[in-house]
Symmetry: C2
């Protein structure tokens, strides 16, 4: 049976996350529903990242094994005609037999968006964490540099099912500030991420950016390997899974 790889964008606002759950709307559930309407049987969708409730994606990657005899692009069109308007298949391509959306991934990139101004922003509220007190870009950058490399991230998340290790490799971690729109964005690319890891990192980094703790305190929390030391996790609506990379394709 042919295997296909697809890139998916979704607005996670109205979903209980990526992963299929009984009695809850999930992104995986919606895609499987669309596939079952095409193929008249249950089709399982494998996703690269199990995004939490309310988290978005511009570059989630999935694979499926389906008895489809037409082109990859026609499969994309068929799926998009059945999916709700907050989920869209951006592209479909044929995949090697041994390709697995999650296990073959060599890195994932997440972006976290913050709007930093005293007043609320009705037009940003769905896709940003609103922070009223001023954030210090320099401190955010300095603390984020500590993340780069191979480290035990157990202060910032729980192991994922099937992978007991809490060690991950972070390739890039940096902040950008847009003065015109009072927004900050944090980009982090790594070999993989623990459950809640990006939101936990952002929650604790924001405490550094607000001056509530120092960069040294952040380093202590990081090295403590103790989740109780980290700050509260950042709100889901600011987080986007933006890219999943593979050795080939």
């Amino acid at each position: 049976m042919p295997k296909f790889k697809a890139i998916v964008e979704y607005d996670g606002s109205n979903y209980h996350g990526w992963q299929l759950q009984p009695n809850a709307n999930t992104v995986q559930g919606e895609i499987e529903k669309a596939l079952s309407r095409i193929f008249h049987e249950r089709i399982v969708v494998f996703g690269a990242g199990r995004t939490d409730a309310g988290v978005h994606a511009t570059g989630q990657v999935v694979h499926v094994l389906v008895p489809w005899k037409h082109s990859a692009d026609d499969l994309k069109k068929a799926l998009n005609s059945l999916l709700p308007d907050d989920i869209c298949i951006l592209s479909v391509s044929t995949a090697q037999n041994d390709f697995h959306a999650r296990h073959s991934a060599i890195s994932k990139t997440y972006r976290y968006q913050i709007v930093n101004q005293q007043t609320r922003s009705p037009l940003k509220r769905l896709y940003f964490w609103e922070i009223a007190y001023p954030l210090d870009l320099g401190k955010l950058q300095e603390a984020s540099k500590l993340l780069i490399g191979i480290h035990d991230f157990s202060s910032f998340g729980a192991p994922t099912s099937g992978t007991p290790s809490t060690v991950r490799k972070i390739h890039e971690a940096f902040w950008e500030k847009d003065e015109n729109s009072n927004t900050f964005s944090f980009t982090v690319r790594g070999s993989g991420f623990l459950r809640f890891m990006v939101r936990s990192l952002v929650g604790t980094l924001v405490r550094v950016g607000l001056g509530k703790i120092s960069v040294g305190d952040f380093a202590d929390i990081f090295m403590a390997c103790d989740r109780s030391k980290a700050g509260p996790i950042a709100k889901p609506q600011g987080l986007f899974l933006v890219k999943v990379e593979y050795q080939e394709g």
Copy 2:
């Protein structure tokens, strides 16, 4: 009684436009409701632009006459604590006795956003018009230049109540394209606008951008002063009232 001027941002998605209507949620209605909770009487809010259902604002301006004895900033805080999260008062200042949000305005600026790509965009759908076929920036610019100056815009809208003339002055009208996000934005600043004028202009300009009609055809439609000649009006979710300017303040 002191007069206050306020700048308002709102996400129009869930409103039947700006203007108060019986049995429908409107932005004016929500602000008046918040004011009546503060002052225990009906307070009328005067807005600069009567945005249609689904249209947004980052810079709507209003004025109110209210028996408020504290600072303008405290009035902002009181209102924001009572308003829903899709409406926010960005600033409040005291205004001259003769200030009127609509009548004193010397210009208004609107922005219209389009995402131009073959696939839908779940994360842009609430704030952009999605157009699948490629738009030609050069043609859009060329046609838009014709709008600048004092003209009869009756091909693109109906007169507003109280102002029978369909002549308006347009100061600026230009398009910008962002290659990274496949988005186009149209900015238009004028002395005032007819009902549906910006959306009607965008609807007809897009026909030029798609190559369905020529710039010359656009000029003919403009000069015909006949609404039946214009293209269909653009979707409301791409439109934003971004700025209202006054002689002073």
